[in-house]
Symmetry: C2
Subunit: 293 residues, 2 copies
């Protein structure tokens, strides 16, 4: 990862720290629970996508931080709730004990709720410093749609209902496109919205986001089979033991790899109209496809 990415990640971490209530805010239990998961070593992929896309349109890093952090908060809440005993029942996440193992189930449920709420608090309170209110409303539209029943939550529901069942390829694609893809695509769209992209630019970036989002989840599924547990920070083979519907399970490892590569190449082609300005998004796509954790 280049120094530039690390600088952006450091800025995202500082912004998250500033937007979230300090750990000693009353009531401290929830503030600590929220901060535990937000600062548990996430890759900050989604903020990087938001900020890099906004950068194509010369939106300064500082201005893109509220939307970037709001999406990271929503991503983090979804992980906390996913790990709950009633859902995926995972005890570890990124090499650390899951939120509910440290703070208990009640606090983990409330910490997730708090982060989802804080995302919209951050957008509505921080973003107006940098954008006119119609752009702020557009960002909230994008993010609430991508996170809701027609996006991430819909994907999560079908994922859970499909466990242990033999499903058609179209159901697998629905899960991947919604559970992971919707929020990743949303990152790119929010960047474009902040940059007041032209409709055809928004369309091209959306196509890039959808392909990268799907490729990201396929790579995730592959890593759950062939990844290094020490690097991943979690047990591999979890999908198989839970009888999760995954790309390699349906198509085999070889075809899954080929599909991820094909999506990657097609995503790069979507960036052609932006020329050198899209170098950052190209690099990010490469990092996603070649990642080992």
């Amino acid at each position: 990862m280049s120094t530039n990415w690390q600088e952006i990640i450091a800025a995202v971490d500082r912004a998250l720290d500033g937007y979230l209530p300090p750990a000693d805010t009353f009531p401290p239990d929830i503030c600590r629970a929220v901060r535990y998961s937000v600062f548990a070593g996430g890759k900050r992929l989604r903020p990087l996508l938001v900020i890099t896309t906004a950068g194509i349109f010369d939106v300064p890093l500082q201005h893109a931080l509220p939307a970037a952090c709001a999406i990271e908060m929503i991503h983090t809440y979804s992980l906390i709730h996913d790990d709950l005993p009633a859902l995926d029942n995972d005890d570890y996440r990124r090499g650390l004990a899951a939120n509910h193992k440290v703070f208990g189930e009640a606090m983990a449920i409330l910490a997730g709720d708090a982060l989802l709420t804080a995302a919209f608090e951050t957008l509505s309170i921080e973003a107006p410093a940098y954008f006119p209110p119609n752009i702020v409303v557009a960002l909230i539209q994008e993010i609430s749609r991508a996170a809701g029943i027609s996006g991430m939550i819909g994907g999560q529901v079908v994922d859970i209902l499909s466990e242990g069942r033999s499903v058609q390829p179209d159901v697998l694609e629905y899960i991947h496109r919604h559970k992971t893809g919707a929020l990743i695509t949303c990152c790119v769209r929010c960047g474009a919205r902040m940059g007041q992209a032209a409709p055809e630019q928004l369309q091209a970036l959306t196509a890039y986001g959808e392909k990268v989002g799907l490729a990201f989840q396929i790579v995730d599924d592959i890593l759950d089979i062939v990844g290094d547990e020490a690097v991943l920070g979690k047990k591999t083979g979890a999908d198989a033991s839970k009888k999760k519907v995954t790309y390699p399970a349906v198509y085999g490892l070889e075809k899954a790899r080929a599909e991820a590569n094909s999506l990657y190449k097609s995503a790069l082609a979507d960036l052609a109209p932006f020329g050198g300005a899209a170098a950052g998004l190209k690099e990010l796509a490469g990092m996603l496809i070649n990642r080992i954790k």
Copy 2:
């Protein structure tokens, strides 16, 4: 309840029906779970407060519906999550089986998440038809603050952590002001924001909202002791059996009743500057204080 209130409630129910995805939307399980709790016989007190306050400033009912319904969605999500086994572990709500008893814990967690998200989707997508974007952003600020750690979630956290403990009166007041009061006050403030109320009007209405919110919770605590189970649709004595911190438990029934009445009278005094235009809010305060369910 006058015919007028029932007409407003019918309009709220129609709007909620229109804003939420139809029950047969894919994936249907979550859409059914969400609708089950939203249409489980709630009193629609919060939407009535939003709409009635907006009415003081001649904001048409239709225009106030997105904010009114968004707050009702947040209220409903909080009930679904509160009833979960890890939190209050309640099997019944308003005479019906709790969401998690009908749809399972996983779906109940996701249904709560979906409703919280849908609130901000409704605000950002429906409200711009009636208000300029700066007002829409102000509504989202009000609602996300009232629902988050510094509001409803904070109250819920302290409520859970205080169960079975002997707490100081200031902790009891913190719980009541945050768990219930913040969102009720928010209703009144959103009505005022939509009506572009002057700062001193917003202040007077906020004072009314805070007192009514606190009185509402005290009456709730009293009903849990002396209420009629058949009318309430839930078991009484639940607070005592869970060793919840309540007003009557700390001060006794008599003093709790006196406090609710005193708050009621003081709330009416806050409405004096509005004259006859506040008749609706006065009637609502009376309904809250004299309610039997």
